[in-house]
């Protein structure tokens, strides 16, 4: 049963919510500026609730089952986070209230900044960026501002490993930089020679993801950073994979000058069906002055009786703000709750078990799937979803078939350096029982690839929808609907 569109459920004149009559005189409306038609759907509250309740049930989500979507850290989102972020003392704060009225919120942001500094090894962090990619843009602009400040206007080249996420090159070109792609070596590390060859005085820096998108900790990370620094460049760290290394290794200690955190990955804030995220950016001491503002600082130290006084300050050479207001505060509250519940040991345990789970899957799956860079991995690994003796079966077919077992598929076709990539990130919140069931399903699929490939090509079979025609969508480009009379109720039989 498909669900009608909200517009198709509309009946003219119906009302879901109404508001009081004005308690003030009506003012005349400006002539010529008022709108004549406002084609929004008209429904009762029950229609709206049913519609979205039924829609929700068509989703796979962390709350309904395993979601090993590589690079996305689909860990469980603790329910207490959803309560704390809704405390009226947080939810009903206007971003521009006088700072004296929001000391609790500022204190929370300050402590979160400090915690992230500690986890990453950084001197300062701005919470403003809205997501990972936004953090990248912020970080690269900081690098550029730093270099320009030193008069190094010729530095316009940025190095990006071929395993990098698409946001890295996209960010770089948004920032006006020229991207040079660096190949990976046989062990899945950045090819050190290729990198060194590009380390000249046009170098602005390197964007590196570590652990990288193969799930591997680069064995030459120190040398890589050293080479870039030697050439006068800076190193940007894509922190998407921080979940592997909290309390295990601090990016700043390894030479990464600036990095974004993904609160929506590492720190358990929900992905929201696509967002919101939050991508705070941490920087080493030499970049502190360039952070986007404002950030929270203590403007009067605490004394015996009084707590410290917090306020917003803008760093002296700030690149400027990267969005309105102060960032995704509601996400901060969740992440702060999460960090408080874990402490240093707890966060290390998180990373340890994320890595344990990934390796457990890896050693079991390599019996049936080729794993191109097969060494101890961090929080994720990449398998090949293809076999020479089952030429018609592709990673996509495996993914679709996994849905029949109640699993969300791994990330497909990324990173680009592995053909038919299946990028698998179990996270630490999954139990051995779930991993075992996934291993069984993957085994059965490997069998079916040989015995019954049609079962895979036709998958999924047990989901509410079969495969969707993406070509038709792109060709016809029906991107929104109009108010029409439509079926009000889906039918049986």
């Amino acid at each position: 049963m498909t669900e009608p569109l909200i517009f198709e459920l509309s009946s003219p004149g119906r009302r879901g919510v109404t508001f009081p009559e004005p308690d003030v005189p009506r003012a005349p409306l400006p002539v010529g500026l008022t709108r004549t038609i406002l084609p929004l759907p008209e429904l009762s509250e029950v229609d709206v609730i049913r519609h979205f309740t039924r829609l929700s049930q068509l989703n796979h989500a962390v709350d309904t089952g395993f979601y090993p979507l590589g690079s996305c850290t689909m860990k469980y989102n603790p329910k207490v986070n959803e309560e704390t972020c809704r405390f009226p003392g947080f939810l009903q704060l206007h971003p521009l209230q006088p700072f004296i009225t929001v000391q609790g919120a500022l204190a929370l942001m300050y402590h979160l900044q400090e915690m992230l500094n500690e986890i990453g090894g950084y001197a300062a962090t701005s919470l403003q960026p809205a997501a990972g990619a936004h953090g990248e843009l912020t970080g690269v602009l900081i690098i550029l501002a730093y270099l320009r400040d030193r008069g190094e206007t010729q530095r316009n080249k940025i190095l990006i490993p071929d395993s990098a996420h698409g946001t890295n090159p996209a960010t770089s070109s948004m920032s006006g930089l020229t991207v040079v792609q660096i190949p990976s070596d046989k062990r899945g590390n950045v090819d050190l020679e290729a990198l060194r060859a590009e380390c000249d005085d046009t170098l602005a820096g390197l964007m590196i993801t570590n652990p990288n998108t193969l799930g591997l900790f680069d064995e030459h990370l120190g040398e890589i950073c050293h080479a870039v620094h030697q050439a006068g460049g800076l190193v940007y760290g894509d922190g998407a994979n921080l979940n592997a290394i909290m309390g295990i290794s601090r990016p700043a200690d390894c030479g990464i000058d600036v990095m974004h955190f993904n609160l929506h990955k590492t720190f358990s804030t929900p992905h929201g069906g696509g967002g919101p995220g939050s991508g705070p950016v941490g920087v080493a001491q030499h970049l502190v002055d360039y952070l986007p503002g404002p950030i929270v600082d203590i403007i009067e130290k605490s004394d015996d009786d009084l707590p410290p006084l917090f306020s917003f300050v803008t760093p002296p050479k700030s690149i400027g703000r990267v969005k309105a207001f102060h960032g995704h505060f509601g996400v901060f509250v969740r992440a702060f709750t999460y960090i408080l519940m874990h402490g240093a040991d707890g966060l290390r345990r998180v990373s340890e078990h994320a890595v344990l789970n990934a390796n457990y899957l890896r050693v079991h799956l390599r019996e049936r799937y080729r794993i191109p860079y097969d060494r101890v991995c961090m929080h994720e690994f990449v398998a090949e979803g293809h076999w020479p003796d089952a030429p018609d079966v592709h990673a996509l077919d495996i993914s679709k078939r996994l849905m029949d077992f109640g699993f969300h598929p791994p990330t497909n076709y990324f990173p680009l350096i592995v053909p038919e990539a299946l990028m698998i990130e179990p996270t630490e919140t999954e139990s051995k029982a779930t991993l075992d069931a996934f291993i069984d399903a993957m085994g059965q699929i490997a069998d079916e690839a040989r015995n019954n490939p049609e079962r895979l090509k036709g998958a999924p079979h047990k989901t509410p929808f079969g495969r969707l025609d993406e070509v038709k969508a792109a060709r016809e480009l029906v991107l929104c609907c109009q108010l029409t009379e439509g079926p009000a109720q889906s039918e049986g039989a």
């Binding site: 498909t2 009302r15 308690d23 003030v24 003012a27 084609p39 008209e42 709206v48 609730i49 979205f52 929700s56 049930q57 068509l58 989703n59 709350d63 979507l69 947080f90 939810l91 009903q92 206007h94 521009l96 006088p98 929370l108 997501a131 936004h134 990248e136 843009l137 550029l144 090159p169 996209a170 770089s172 070109s173 948004m174 309390g247 290794s249 992905h271 929201g272 069906g273 696509g274 919101p276 309105a324 207001f325 102060h326 960032g327 702060f336 960090i339 519940m341 402490g343 344990l356 457990y360 101890v376 969300h408 051995k432 509410p464 929808f465 079969g466 016809e476 480009l477 929104c480 609907c481």
Partner: protein, 448 residues
Amino acid sequence: MFIPHTDSEREEMLRAIGVESIEALFQDIPEKQRFPQLELPPALKEMEVAQELQTFASINETSNELTSFLGAGAYNHYIPAAVDSILRRGEFYTAYTPYQPEVSQGTLQAIYEYQSLMAALTGMEVSNASHYDGATAAAEAVSMAYHHFRGKRTKMVISNALHPHYRETIRTYHRGSEVKIVEDDKQHSEKFERLADLIDENTALVYVGYPDFFGRLFDLTDIANSTHGAGALFAVSVNPISLGLFKPPGEFGADIVTGEGQPLGIPLSFGGPYLGIFTTRKEHVRRMAGRLVGETIDTRGQRGYVLTLTAREQHIRRERATSNICTNQGLMALAATVYLSLLGSGGLRQVAELCYHKAHYAAEKLTALPGYSLTFPETPFFNEFALRCPRQVKDIIAFLLEHDVLGGYDLGQDYPGMEHDMLVAVTEMNSREEIDLLADRLAEVSYD
């Protein structure tokens, strides 16, 4: 807790992997940098953390405890309970970007409905699935205009009355590019003459607020014509609530409409997460940034939805992508979708009217006080207006706060010379008594 492993399971797993201990999995990390001792507060149990966070929350004074007239880009509207009841559904908020449409039709159809609603509301043809907020949507509009002219036009003419944060964000985003931002001054007349004067054949985009940062509403016909006359694109940043009552930018010929979606059922939450609205005309769809959902059918003949035109995006096109945006504001777009579905055209119009009438009542009350007047007395406004005050606004705000009133926004912070101008916002949440109270308090403020 959140790590489910029992000791025996952990042992079994390590054995399967063939290592002695978890530590052994981290050999690739140089010893010197391995296992730093982090200094973080000691771990709290759920029960303790709930109390701890309550302590942080209770230190704040909320817009509900205070009587608030603060807007300036974020507004205190009523959010029907049904909105959050949908947002709390785990199937929505614990899913991610709907890469796998067969198990993501809930999210996909909701985005499609969001796109449809935004197009309808702004009077445009297509909408993306969201940007981070009104500021970054504006910055992306500038990028789009730049790419539209393939870099051949580099000048962006931006109204000085666009939200200061948006203007600053646009500048930050385009620090590294050839884009040149030029602004008029805030006093431009209803005809946008000063703005129009800045338009030339190198102009890619003309950007105005509707309502603008001062709450003002202008007829955009002429400026749209001037813009198009010069071959440039015309972009408008909106407050979506105002579109329940006022002509949508699409009717004025806008090429791009952006805006802050927060007023559509999203809590103030100290500034975020909010919602960046972005709509445009179909001809521009391939240069629009962000995710996009399109209708199609499945193998069983059912109507369904997929992410489409993904070739514009970073994960396919990489350094040639329209933007780097990946994670967006999915759940906030859902909030706006549920909000608008509940209100419908009648409800949205009602909210817009309440805001309008109450703001005008407030303006009348306040300007009747000696020493107070409208900064822009000639111009229609929506739910917010600049009030010229007899004293510096910063003193007035401090005085009001002593009486548990959150006064408006001090325009002097962004506009030198406007230290006596306060931006006062009124929504359906402000009762007549509250407005009268504000008037009473302001009457007590003596002249300098």
